[in-house]
């Protein structure tokens, strides 16, 4: 069995660690490139969302390298994602690729289904070993997410452009490739040291922009055209509403702090949206309200073209914008690499947010 999985930000590192620690032969998909997108777009339904297409590209490229088993997420609710794994399996089969697809879905009612699927991956290993490997993968993911979060905030202040990117590249190699707690701790210590000694413009008061929206577009830099980095270089402190480990904590493990946050988000969304609309539509609303209440300077919603839950959220964002006087912009991304158009919108948004802050008397903005 040679196992592969789709890319999604730091999840790929955690997934690879988990599967390797389960002593499986792992074939990670090659990094997302134009070829990945091209393959995905070619073999996917035309109107499906971008994450689906990138998944297909990842799977095909991994199968070319010898993968025969795909681990894919599943889902429940109105978002089409719940059906993706089934459809993707059929597409791969039609292409003559013989693969076994293992779908990990959040348990609904009986947990037996999920467990029987996990046990396909953990042949001959104790429950204890599976739990320990999962726990380690979660730690690794949390470590990487922590670094990512710091760099999202610090990039606006770096004195040498590119130094945050260099730390991120180093973290992916050291933390991302750790397979024991000892190696993980050592890697984290090194990266923390690098962050602590980063040369920064400390007098700067960067603009603060919150990112909300569909999870895949929010977390996969190759697909969102490196949105967080772009904003960082425009002198903006980036606050993401979600990370991979947040998602795991909120959905998969019984984590009281994460549950409390989810309740807070739903509560904040209540005046605008009271129910689950699939995907992260409800979270987009709730997190936007929390960002606005926290005095953020601007909010950016990202979604893949045709994303239903986020379209519902998009139609409610103007009321939040009006109620709190916070500028909100929606970026709809698809396979086109219209980087110039994206950059123009981001620059204009940052200028606008900065001018508003000066106008409100909030001090001088420090966009680079």
């Amino acid at each position: 069995m040679r196992v592969t999985f789709p890319h999604m930000g730091t999840m790929s590192f955690a997934m690879q660690a988990l599967l390797e620690n389960l002593r499986l032969q792992v074939v990670p998909p090659p990094p997302i490139t134009n070829r990945t997108l091209m393959l995905g777009a070619k073999y996917s339904p035309e109107c499906v969302c971008l994450p689906f297409k990138v998944n297909i590209g990842n799977f095909i490229e991994a199968i070319e390298l010898g993968a025969d088993t795909v681990v894919m997420g599943g889902g429940i609710g109105p978002c089409r994602f719940g059906y993706y794994a089934e459809l993707q399996q059929e597409i791969l089969q039609d292409l003559g690729m013989r693969v076994n697809m293992i779908v990990l879905e959040p348990p609904q009612g009986a947990n037996g289904g999920l467990w029987s699927r996990i046990s396909k991956l953990s042949v001959g290993q104790s429950l204890w070993h599976v739990a320990a490997a999962s726990y380690f993968a979660w730690h690794l993911c949390k470590g990487l997410d922590g670094v990512l979060q710091s760099l999202d905030l610090l990039r606006a202040r770096e004195t040498v452009p590119g130094s945050c990117d260099r730390i991120w590249n180093a973290a992916q190699k050291s933390i991302g490739q750790a397979r024991t707690y000892r190696a993980l701790r050592r890697a984290e210590k090194e990266i923390r040291h690098e962050i602590a000694t980063l040369s920064l413009h400390l007098h700067k008061r960067p603009l603060r922009i919150g990112l909300v929206g569909e999870i895949y577009m929010l977390l996969e830099p190759k697909v969102n055209l490196h949105l967080a980095e772009r904003l960082g270089y425009l002198g903006v402190e980036v606050h993401r509403s979600m990370s991979v480990s947040d998602w795991v904590a909120r959905h998969l493990v019984p984590n009281p702090r994460a549950r409390m946050h989810t309740r807070k988000v739903h509560e904040a969304a209540k005046p605008y949206l009271r129910g689950f609309v699939g995907g992260h539509g409800l979270e987009t609303i709730g997190e936007s309200v929390l960002f606005a209440e926290g005095g953020i300077d601007g909010i950016i919603q990202v979604l893949p073209l045709t994303c239903m839950p986020e379209i519902v959220a998009q139609s409610l964002l103007p009321s939040i914008s009006q109620r709190y006087g916070v500028p909100i912009i929606t970026l709809v991304l698809d396979e086109h690499a219209g980087e110039a158009g994206l950059q123009t919108r981001l620059e204009a948004f940052v200028d606008m947010v900065g001018a508003r802050r000066v106008h409100r008397g909030g001090g001088v903005s420090c966009a680079k």
Binding site: P30, P31, I32, T33, N34, P161, G162, D165, N169, K222, H226, Y233, P318, P327, V332, A340, G341, Q343, T344, R345, E347, A348, F349, D351, M352, A355, R356, H359, K368
Partner: protein
């Protein structure tokens, strides 16, 4: 003779605009040329026109660029400021017509709406997927009907009963126009219908969900078309102003933004009009992204890089070219 001038360049996909202003913000010279897929040559010709129009020997104290070709233009001329089109248009309008609350800008390939309040941009939008409401589409239709683009607006004003043309999409609009033409509608009625369709398309695609408050300024190349201007006035039931330099407002805006740069300019001088520029793309195999890294060189010396996602090459620009 002015003591110094500031240059603003707006390098759009369809047209290239250059404006020269003096220290007080008065327009001394302006140039509007088709880009024709060759922005470098267009910038060089436009600068040549400007140099000819300016009194000889007047020093250039600051240069700024905007438009989709702004990064390349900045590397070519040596710009002090590089700004997006939204901010550029807003800056120009706020200087020229300070009371304006809404800017409608329709250019060759894109269109924008910018809302202003108390001298600050409060909201904006650009067309995303469709070019139906833009200048290139009008250009194409004028060409098909055998009417010079400059006469299209006047022709629309002669209409007695404008026909209804679908404005949602360029393809639908064109087939609608052909249908109307073959059923015998007069040319002026069809053109007037087209103007109304473009305005409907703009209001429902670009300006959707935004409250348009007067005074409204209509700028960009398409503002030359009086047919569209009248259609906007009747659709909005508001007076619409077309500023004097409506076709070069983006360039004018960045020229204003260059004004604070008094003294230390990076401008390479008007000599760039004769420079031999080369753009060379190479696939970088540093990682799986395989970006096409573009090197821009003037007279054989590489001046800037772009196209790399990791910044290995382009970070060098950040060190030398401020934004």
């Amino acid at each position: 003779m002015p003591s110094k001038v500031f240059l603003g360049l707006d390098v759009g996909s369809v047209s290239t605009k250059v404006v020269a202003i003096d220290a007080l913000g008065q327009v001394l010279a302006s140039s509007y040329l088709p880009t024709q897929g060759q922005p470098i040559a267009a910038i060089q010709s436009a600068l040549r026109e400007i140099a000819r129009a300016l009194p000889p020997g007047v020093p250039v104290a600051g240069v700024a660029t905007t438009g989709s070709g702004r990064v390349m233009a900045s590397a070519l001329v040596g710009a002090d400021v590089v700004k997006n089109e939204i901010t550029a248009h807003a800056t120009a309008t706020l200087r020229v017509l300070p009371s304006v609350r809404t800017i409608i800008e329709i250019g060759g390939q894109d269109s924008k709406i910018i809302l202003l309040n108390h001298g600050v941009v409060t909201d904006f939008a650009m067309n995303t997927v469709c070019a139906a409401g833009t200048g290139s589409f009008l250009d194409r239709q004028a060409h098909r009907l055998g009417v010079p683009i400059t006469a299209l607006g006047e022709l629309a004003l002669q209409a007695t009963s404008p026909t209804r043309i679908a404005g949602r999409c360029a393809v639908f609009a064109e087939s609608d126009m052909i249908h109307k033409q073959q059923t015998g509608h007069s040319l002026s009625d069809i053109v007037a219908g087209l103007c109304e369709a473009l305005v409907r398309n703009y209001l429902s695609n670009v300006a959707k969900g935004k409250t348009i408050v007067g005074p409204v300024s209509f700028q960009g190349g398409v503002a030359a078309n009086v047919g569209i201007l009248r259609a906007f006035e009747s659709a909005l039931a508001l007076p619409v102003i077309v500023p004097e330099h409506y076709d070069v407002m983006g360039a004018l805006g960045v020229a204003y933004l260059a004004q604070p740069i008094a003294g230390q300019t990076r401008f390479r001088g008007f000599g760039v009009v004769a420079a031999n520029c080369q753009v060379k793309g190479e696939d970088c195999d540093g990682c799986g992204n395989r970006c096409e890294v573009v090197g821009f060189s003037i007279n054989g010396r590489v001046q800037a890089y772009w196209g790399d996602r990791c910044g290995k090459y382009s970070h060098e620009n950040y060190l030398s070219v401020g934004t």
